[in-house]
Symmetry: C2
Subunit: 108 residues, 2 copies
Amino acid sequence: MKEKQYTAEQELIAHFAKAMGHPARIAILDFLAKQDSCFFGEIHEELPIAKATVSQHLKELKEAGLIQGEIESPKVRYCINRQNWELARKLFAVFFDDCKCNDTSCCE
Amino acid sequence: MKEKQYTAEQELIAHFAKAMGHPARIAILDFLAKQDSCFFGEIHEELPIAKATVSQHLKELKEAGLIQGEIESPKVRYCINRQNWELARKLFAVFFDDCKCNDTSCCE
DNA sequence: TTTATTGTTCGCAAAATTACGAACAATATT
DNA sequence: AATATTGTTCGTAATTTTGCGAACAATAAA
């Protein structure tokens, strides 16, 4: 029937947005964004949730490409993935700027 | 135990992001953003999903404040909510721009 | 070698999301 | 009044998300 699917760009921005769709993950990104890098424990201290849950959120952010982590036994150092951060920044900027509402009248 | 919660701003951006966390909803926003307004039926035609599902996605976007709809019986006209669109645009811009990675070295 | 520290993974439960068809509501048309 | 059009809401099912404690793995320290 309906053949129309979503564009790769729509899928991508939705994927980034989904990863950012939880306050804990925004808090993690906020925290990581204001420093060069930090360990899991420091992130955990910032959040009101169990370490297992923090670990899960970090995993999702990593899978979305927004952060990266490397083992420095017995700790794990996390940081923003700069390349994808920049990609996401641009995607969201274009997404919001391309609204016709920004420069013309709109319903209302 | 842990008292620390999330800031209102973190909750807000997560809320917007969550609403944008599905390709169908991004497609809807893309479609609405490039025109002044349109009817439900036109949105439905753009998407590969049932009307009940489209209606649900529209409801979520409306509840997130990103769009608004008004009845023009028997049709329903939808459009971007300009005020919140601008708010979201700024929130995401600040969110991504405030990363230390943007102007200094980062882990890697 | 035993013990501590640091995180991840597992298993589970509760809740939310996604999707659909069917039923419904509200107006317009015949 | 009966019918058609346009969307929303309801009920349901399948899947995903969120969260936790317990168990585990890997290294470091005693």
